[in-house]
């Protein structure tokens, strides 16, 4: 009895209804890919089914953004003889993105010393943030318009909270970081709605008010305005006393007036 699917799509059909977009096709020599994106998540998590040319192996793998693929399931039709593909999922080798990056306990991270695994995660998040900055170099930003850069950064803050803000704080103090991207970062940090990181985001923006670049100082003040927190007022008043450009002083004043009015 030939239990090997005739082509990749047969295998995919057998795997269920979750696959809703296919990229690629059954090719005689190359693996076939089908992509499954989880739309419910704010961050972009992709799953991909990879079917090898002779259909001997099917792998389900997942990744966040364009990070490393993690294999979730491996199915070997040749090695199993039953026709119910659900039964031949190799769970022994299965791992999931969630296992690698569980939801972070913000309170614990902010009060305890970093453990080895947290350092690993910080390294991972820092690399991801750098990757987003690297990709952002080719993007053109328009005032008031969403950007891929800001959307990705927003997702990182939502998912990796404290660690993302630590990585951003490092980039803020690194002199060679692209000013336009840092500026866009200030706006994204101000607009982000994650309540758990509100204090850290606020602090990052206050840090931005001290930046050597007027573009960053301007964005940081607007980021604080976007947070709509009157606690920013004394910091902005302080910034006025240090600011060398008159027009920026006026802009800070306008923000203070608006924040104080509510």
């Amino acid at each position: 009895m030939n239990l090997v699917p005739k082509n990749a799509l047969t295998v995919l059909d057998s795997l269920g209804q979750d696959v809703f977009s296919l990229t690629g096709y059954a090719h005689p020599t190359r693996p076939t890919f089908a992509e499954e994106i989880m739309p419910a998540k704010k961050f972009r998590r992709s799953y991909e089914w990879v079917v090898y040319p002779d259909s001997s192996t099917v792998i389900k793998r997942g990744r966040i953004f364009s990070g490393s693929w993690v294999i979730h399931h491996e199915i070997r039709p040749y090695l199993k003889k039953e026709d119910n593909l659900d039964l031949i999922i190799d769970e022994t080798n299965a791992s999931s993105v969630d296992e690698f990056f569980p939801a972070l306990d913000i309170a614990e991270l902010s009060t305890s010393e970093e453990k080895g695994s947290d350092i690993d995660r910080l390294t991972f998040v820092s690399e991801k943030v750098k990757e987003i900055f690297c990709d952002g170099e080719s993007e053109i930003f328009k005032a008031g318009m969403d950007s891929i850069f800001s959307q990705r950064l927003d997702s990182m803050i939502n998912y990796f909270g404290v660690l993302t803000l630590k990585a951003l704080s490092n980039l803020l103090s690194y002199r060679q970081t692209n000013i336009e991207l840092l500026s866009e970062t200030m706006r994204t940090v101000g607009r982000n709605a994650d309540i758990k990181t509100k204090n850290l985001r606020f602090r990052l923006l206050i840090e931005g008010l001290n930046h050597t670049s007027a573009i960053i100082r301007d964005s940081a003040s607007l980021g604080l305005y976007d947070m709509e927190d009157p606690q920013a007022i004394p910091y902005l008043e302080d910034a006025i006393s240090r600011e060398k450009y008159d027009s920026l002083k006026n802009d800070y004043g306008q923000i203070i007036e608006d924040l104080g009015a509510c």
């Binding site: 328009k142 005032a143 008031g144 318009m145 969403d146 607009r191 007027a214 573009i215 301007d218 607007l222 305005y225 976007d226 060398k244 450009y245 008159d246 027009s247 920026l248 802009d251 306008q254 923000i255 608006d258 009015a261 509510c262």
Partner: protein, 168 residues
């Protein structure tokens, strides 16, 4: 003589004191004057027949987010001074009356753009309206019917609710 309005990407790019430090118009200022086919978009506000706020609302209505608008106003005499040609072209905002005020500055040379940017920095008004006012202006425009809801950016519409509710 009339007043011309130019939307800026960010007015901080043309901070006048920075120009003083550098001894001339800073290169970043030109980011507010990026041409398309050697043309720049401006609005002509003749005799203040229409409020600047209405132009701002129309422009902000095309965006994804409620955000501040930076802009410059300047004397139309500058166009004559720098021999800049103009062409009346209907704008594409959600406000038809504002669209009628739109003109393109055409056949621009790099030198004309620099002269214009420099003069606007020196003698024009560089302004900013913060997002709360912008949000209120858009909701007001929709309420009064100046703005065509069907032409407003779809992403923006759900973000306007909070500006319709309170005075803050």
């Amino acid at each position: 003589m009339s007043i011309l309005f130019r939307k800026l990407e960010r007015k901080v790019y043309m901070e006048p004191q920075k120009a003083d430090e550098l001894g001339g118009l800073q290169a970043d200022a030109l980011r507010n004057f990026i041409t398309k086919e050697n043309a720049l978009s401006v609005y002509e506000v003749e005799n203040k027949l229409i409020d600047i706020e209405r132009i701002l609302a129309a422009i902000a209505g095309m965006r994804d987010n409620v955000q501040e608008v930076d802009y410059a106003t300047f004397d139309s005499n500058l166009l004559e001074e720098f021999e800049i040609k103009t062409k009346k072209i209907k704008g594409d905002t959600a406000d038809d009356e504002v669209n009628n005020l739109h003109i393109d500055l055409i056949d621009l040379t790099a030198k004309q753009v620099c002269l214009l940017a420099s003069s606007i920095q020196k003698d024009g008004n560089l302004m900013r309206i913060l997002k709360k006012k912008i949000g209120r202006e858009i909701t007001e425009g929709l309420k009064k019917g100046y703005l065509n809801k069907n032409k407003i950016n779809e992403k923006l519409l759900p973000k306007l609710a909070k500006y319709a509710q309170s005075g803050c």
